[in-house]
Amino acid sequence: MSRIKVKIKEQDLTKIREICQAHNNEPGELINVLQQTQEHFGYLPAEIQEAVAQELGLPVAKVYGVVTFYSFFTMIPQGRYPISICTGTACYVRGADNVLQEFKRQLGIAVGETSEDGKFSLNCLRCVGACGLAPVVLVGDKTYGRVAPDGVKDILAEYQDKE
């Protein structure tokens, strides 16, 4: 009979312990812990969730249940240039869907996916509060306002040569 082994890098485990301890290893702080953990690692792969579960004394199934409930958490590594398209109502009525379709087409990935080279990932989000600029696209922290489908190419080109 053997144990289920979960492998994780030492420094990663140390970091998770640090975050959990900062929250007194309190199970009720799970969401705050996951926030910070994702902030550090960029995403929440299985082994990270296992470690968080262990530190907080929670079943890993519960941690997974929480991670999959909230759209902010992701188990897929984000691209170096995460693209988020606002699909709030204001952006929708000003044509966000066409912009989204164009991104999907140009990148060849679906929403929630990351391009093969790890460069771009594509996500939708609801209202960034910049309705005056609708439709709005975010690449990392940079905001692009009044984006039209034929502007998609130019946005991508900006990052194409960057590493």
Partner: protein, 592 residues
């Protein structure tokens, strides 16, 4: 308690404040359909997510419909449970649920015993509009040694989640995803066998659909019996006889021991034995071990581990291996009755009938799903040949009996075969919470004091249904503190007390299921009625009372077994055949 007066379907009802519409309606004989709702009153588990909305009723003055299972009554409330608005809503909601549910009722294991199917029948659902373009959830089926998960059939009633987390504190199952994609599964949707699941089967016991079912061995059984070169040996656990009758329309608590024996014989088993025999054997070993530990403890040995915990329940064993691996040396090393039986059957008994173990198939009939897994544990096999080949549940046996066109209740009363069919009342009570420790007490008391209990054999203080019970038995001046827990959540509390050094117990009995094996995951479904479990418990004690011999060490066949084959209890041979080790199978986070 303050009372509230209300009207349900024009009937006046008076109920205590805080009662739900559902319960109030029940009092006046109005049956409101429910699906997700589950109230296991006797073990304090109420699953009331208000998720299925099948129990929706109309309440005068309220804008929308109210879920009867969760809505408390108030004075002057006017409830209508079956108006057209309600009927339409119920039907539409069940159509919704069915539109995301596979339509393989013909071959579904739950067919005929499925709450969703019953509901569809009751609500007269004949078609599902829009089914042709309705997207359906798809998941792969997960087969573990005990339990099959078909997540496509999950309707998010959350009953399994309640059992796994609230009652068992195992935490293998949890809701994941949200919206249409939500379902209940282990972390990362991994297979159950890689999760901390103990295979207690309580999720299966409460699942209203075919999403969680047992691994079915009835085909293996048919094959084994059909093979003329194989000697097929049955062992039947005590809790089976107290519940099998329910599958044939009998009142809960009807004992069907003799009829079950004759049915098994007619199905073609070569030998029909009793796990109770092995239970007596377990008491010999476990009782001896307890006395040994006690004696060393009283002599001041600091290394001795006390309390000693029972080890008959495979789900409980897996629980400690998973969740308390640091304490894996405190359960008794005695194997469970099922495994003791298998090991003796394939040695002692095989010799007797001059058969090789390869030509024998030992089948256990169990109230339990974890037994399926236990029989597959590597340490319980000899060169790949398992001591117990496979285990079938009470439900599977009932199916097979019906399939063979036997009406159980018309079967003659017959007795078990010998030698391994001889058992005592002590073996019988293994089927209920408190029974193992009572059986052990009967034997240990007499062994320790050298006296005779005579008529004072009923240790009432050890019986009952509360989750955790404590009692002190006077061993002739030595007070022995005994703890009993059923449900792994209750077990957890006792284990944590031991870990922190607060426990004053000498011996603790733990069973994973509500009420012990009588409430096992392989039993006829109780459909939320825990009084059924209590009736089974009563039947078990009745069977004990009716037995001519009620102490394990007085079982003549056991005495012969030691004399002819095993030698001493806890002796070398016994150690090899009847004891085991436990493993640390907890999840391990390793540095890579």
């Amino acid at each position: 308690m303050e009372n509230v007066k209300l009207t349900i379907d024009n009937k006046q009802v008076e109920v205590p404040k805080g009662t739900t519409i559902y319960k109030a309606a029940k009092q006046v004989g109005i049956d409101i359909p429910v699906l997700c709702y589950m109230n296991l009153e006797d073990i304090g588990i109420e699953n009331k997510p208000g998720g299925c909305r099948v129990c929706s009723v109309e309440v005068e003055g309220r804008k929308n419909l109210a879920p009867a299972c969760a809505t408390e009554v108030f004075d002057g409330m006017d409830v209508k449970t079956h108006t057209m608005r309600v009927i339409n809503a119920r039907r539409t909601v069940v159509e919704f649920i069915l539109s995301d549910h596979p339509k393989d009722c013909l071959t579904c294991k739950k067919s005929g015993n499925c709450e969703l199917q019953d509901l569809a029948v009751r609500l007269g659902i004949r078609e599902i509009p829009g089914q042709e373009y309705a997207e359906m959830s798809t998941y792969k089926t997960d087969y573990s040694p005990s339990i099959v998960r078909e997540l496509d059939k999950c309707i998010m009633c959350r009953r399994c989640e309640s059992m796994c987390n609230d009652f068992q504190t195992v935490g293998a199952l949890n809701a994941f995803n949200r919206g249409f994609d939500a379902a209940v599964a282990p972390a990362f949707e991994m297979d159950l066998q890689y999760s901390p699941c103990t295979y207690c089967g309580q999720c299966v016991a409460v699942c209203p659909t075919g999403a969680l079912t047992e691994v079915d061995h009835s085909r293996d059984l048919i094959d084994a019996i059909s093979d003329p070169n194989t000697t097929v040996v049955a062992q039947t656990a005590p809790a089976v006889r107290a519940a099998l009758g329910e599958e044939f329309g009998q009142e809960p608590g009807t004992l069907v021991t003799g009829k079950m024996v004759s049915a098994l014989r007619r199905l073609g088993f070569d030998y029909v034995f009793d796990t109770d025999f092995a239970a007596d054997l377990t008491i010999m070993e476990e009782g001896t071990e307890l006395l040994d530990r006690l004696k060393r403890h009283l002599d001041g040995d600091q290394d001795v581990k006390l309390p000693m915990l029972t080890s008959c329940c495979p789900a409980w064993v897996r629980f400690i291996e998973h969740h308390f691996p640091d304490m894996k040396d405190i359960p008794s090393s005695a194997r469970s009755p099922q495994q003791m039986f298998g090991s003796i059957a394939k040695t002692y008994f095989a010799d007797k009938i001059e058969t090789k173990r390869e030509n024998m198939v030992v089948v256990s009939i169990m109230p339990c799903l974890a037994k399926k897994y236990e029989s597959q544990r590597e340490e319980f096999s000899v060169e790949g040949n398992p001591d117990v080949d496979f285990s079938v549940s009470t439900r599977e046996l009932a199916h097979l009996i019906r399939e063979a066109n036997f009406n159980l209740m018309d079967m003659p009363e017959e007795d078990f075969d010998r030698p391994m069919g001889e058992s005592t009342g002590a073996g019988v009570i293994f089927g209920t919470t408190g029974g193992v420790i009572e059986a052990a007490t009967r034997t240990a008391y007499e062994m320790h004091t050298g006296g005779n209990l005579d008529g004072n054999i009923d240790f009432e203080q050890l019986r009952g249904f509360e989750g955790i019970r404590k009692a002190t038995v006077d061993f002739n001046g030595t007070p022995i503190n005994i703890g009993i827990a059923h449900g792994l959540g209750n077990a957890r509390k006792l284990l944590e007390a031991i870990r922190s050094g607060e426990s004053e117990f000498h011996a603790i009995e733990i069973m994973a299921c509500p009420g012990g094996c009588i409430g096992g995951g392989g039993q006829p479904l109780h459909h939320n009625d825990t009084t059924i479990l209590k009736a089974r418990q009563k039947a078990i004690y009745e069977e004990d009372k009716n037995k001519p011999i009620r102490k394990s060490h007085e079982n003549p066949e056991i005495q012969t077994l030691y004399k002819e084959f095993l030698g001493e209890a806890m002796g070398e041979k016994a150690h090899e055949l009847l004891h085991t080790n436990y493993f640390d199978i907890s999840r391990k986070i390793e540095i890579s």
